[in-house]
């Protein structure tokens, strides 16, 4: 039976039995899965676990299985961004985060499903078909790291890595009732993360509890010269695991409780803020007036960067190749047949926004609005320690409900994308249920002040029981 076990529980099980037995039990659970969260289970996982057993590895994650999103390069293990165009692609190298995880003794369990090229909020646009939400199989798990959130919620992996360009870790964490963090831009090396919109995205862990998030951050964060936006800054995230928010100042941005918010979500978030008051924090309402423009700014920037980043998928060096007696024809057919409809739409819009005559109207304008959004954060966070808001304005929607209307899908990201534009860190933690579906509380911090949001999230967990609620059929 699938069950939630935290990293310390896994380490205890390994001490009592072996890393091989622990990994084997997860593989057995995945074999019975109905949620389509994993795309590939690694053939090497058992061997890696056996090796940890035989060499007595003492790393902080020795023998701990971890699931990895389909867009993070794993040497020898298929990495396709859940796209037809990368079918058969096997990276010849590991991403920086994978090198770090392996050095810490982690066992790479397999790869998880995602929206094609991380472009989505539902994990429905995957070439491998949708992932189902373990709380309700008729609903989406969120996206784009839907597989990474769903497998943790379903007890098929204790922890996972996702990536967050506009909410892609926090959204599925909220929809699946688990914890997920989007670190400060520059905190974790993006070397080996297949780029979608590289000025916005960060890799982030997902787990069933805040302590495990800090443990993974301690392993994967840090400077890497191969990512030119990597920042050289030492930090120990697990130092922040303290139950203490006395005197913490919370800002509540009223724009994050806008039109269309689910009333149970609104109530759950306000109840959480009251709980923080009981725990010794204070709150004040703050205004972030450019929030309503963040979504348009975000999508223009993300699509523009995507149109450039995805130019490399042309059938020449890897992946799918269509026939054509001239390179341009071959590349145009490869991309027409290899990319799904949403990816094509975003590349077309990005190309249009960057093209002669439209560059200033769309792209430059979006970058200027980005500055104003960032200034909203600078101003708000000058007077408070953290901001709190709903991660998603409503709980997980039904599969098929929004897939044919791109704009309605984009609107779901209203509370997550401003954070990526500003580059600040944000963590989503479970804070209640709405009609049986999980609700996420988003705690946003200052640049490189992950420790304050981790401390707030950890304290909340110590004083509430939301994180103990599990999907049906999971112990």
């Amino acid at each position: 039976m699938a069950a939630w076990t935290d990293i310390s529980g896994i380490r205890q099980k390994i001490a009592d039995s072996s890393a091989e037995e622990v990994t084997a039990s997860y593989i057995e659970t995945i074999g019975k899965s109905k949620i389509n969260g994993f795309t590939t289970v690694s053939d090497e996982a058992i061997n890696a676990a056996r090796e940890i057993d035989s060499n007595g590895h003492e790393g902080p994650l020795a023998g701990v299985p971890i699931a990895i999103k389909e867009n993070i390069s794993t040497k020898g293990l298929s990495t396709t961004c859940s796209s037809k165009i990368l079918q058969g692609y096997v990276p010849p190298y590991d991403a920086h985060v994978i090198e770090k995880l392996k050095a810490a003794g982690a066992v790479i369990l397999g790869k998880t499903n995602m929206d094609e090229f991380a472009m989505g909020t539902s994990t429905e646009s995957s070439y491998y078909g949708p992932t189902f939400n373990p709380w309700d199989m008729d609903r989406v798990p969120g996206g784009s790291s839907g597989g990474s959130a769903a497998v943790v919620a379903a007890g098929e992996a204790p922890v996972s890595l996702g990536s967050d360009t506009g909410g892609s870790v926090r959204c599925p964490a909220a929809y699946c009732g688990v914890v997920g963090i989007k670190p400060t831009y520059g905190c974790i090396s993006r070397y080996g993360l297949i780029s979608y919109a590289n000025s916005l995205e960060q890799i982030g862990p997902l787990a069933t509890n805040v302590a495990d998030i800090a443990t993974i951050m301690d392993v994967v964060a840090g400077y890497d010269s191969r990512d030119s936006t990597s920042i050289n800054r030492e930090n120990t995230y697990s130092d922040a695991l303290k139950d203490d928010v006395k005197g913490m100042k919370i800002g509540v941005p009223e724009e994050y409780f806008g039109e269309g918010i689910d009333e149970n979500v609104e109530k759950a978030v306000w109840d959480s803020i009251s709980k923080f008051e009981d725990m010794g924090a204070t709150y004040e309402k703050v205004s972030m007036p450019h929030t309503k423009y963040a979504l348009a700014s975000y999508y223009i920037i993300a699509m523009s960067e995507a149109s450039s980043n995805l130019a490399r998928f042309d059938g020449t060096r890897y992946g799918y190749r269509a026939d054509g007696d001239n390179w341009h024809v071959m590349a145009s057919k490869t991309r027409a047949e290899g990319f799904g409809p949403e990816v094509k739409r975003r590349i077309l819009l990005g190309t249009y926004a960057l093209s002669a005559g439209y560059h200033d109207k769309y792209y430059l304008k979006a970058l200027q609005v980005r500055t104003l959004v960032k200034q909203d954060f600078d101003r708000a966070l000058a007077n408070v320690d953290v901001l709190m808001a709903p991660t998603m304005p409503a709980p997980a929607f039904k599969i098929g409900e929004k897939i044919d209307d791109p704009l309605s899908l984009y609107l779901a990201d209203v509370n997550t994308v401003p954070i990526n534009l500003a580059g600040v860190p944000s963590i989503s933690v479970p804070c209640g249920l709405s009609d049986g579906m999980p609700v996420g509380l988003q705690i946003i911090g200052k640049h490189f002040d992950e420790n304050t949001i981790i401390r707030a999230a950890y304290s909340f967990e110590q004083n509430t029981d939301h994180h103990t609620r599990r999907p049906p059929e999971v112990a």
Binding site: V90, T229, D325, N326, H328, V329, T351, Y362
Partner: protein
């Protein structure tokens, strides 16, 4: 408003083949998104500097030293289309 012809032109720029049958449907969906983007016109951005990225970094240099690189066979391992250590593609001119 993006026209059907513009969709086909942008498709060519992006090297994504779009046939005449599809371009109407694309134009419709792209226009609904472009309409939404139009709301940025309301924002006064006179004199506001653009933010390309948020990291406080300008230029990142490294020493010009030769380091080990990936073996050629690894680089070529993901394609059948190769010859004498090179990628092989159809003629481009």
């Amino acid at each position: 408003m993006i026209t059907k012809e513009e969709v086909e032109h942008v498709g060519w720029l992006a090297r994504i083949e779009i046939d005449a049958k599809e371009s109407d449907a694309y134009a419709e969906k792209l226009n609904s998104v472009l309409d939404y983007f139009g709301q940025l016109d309301e924002v006064d951005t006179e004199g506001v500097k653009p933010t390309y990225h948020v990291a406080d970094i300008v230029n990142v240099f490294r020493k010009d030293e030769v380091t080990e690189s990936m073996p050629q066979e690894d680089v070529l391992a993901n394609t059948e289309h190769k010859q004498e250590g090179n990628f092989k593609a159809p003629k481009i001119m």
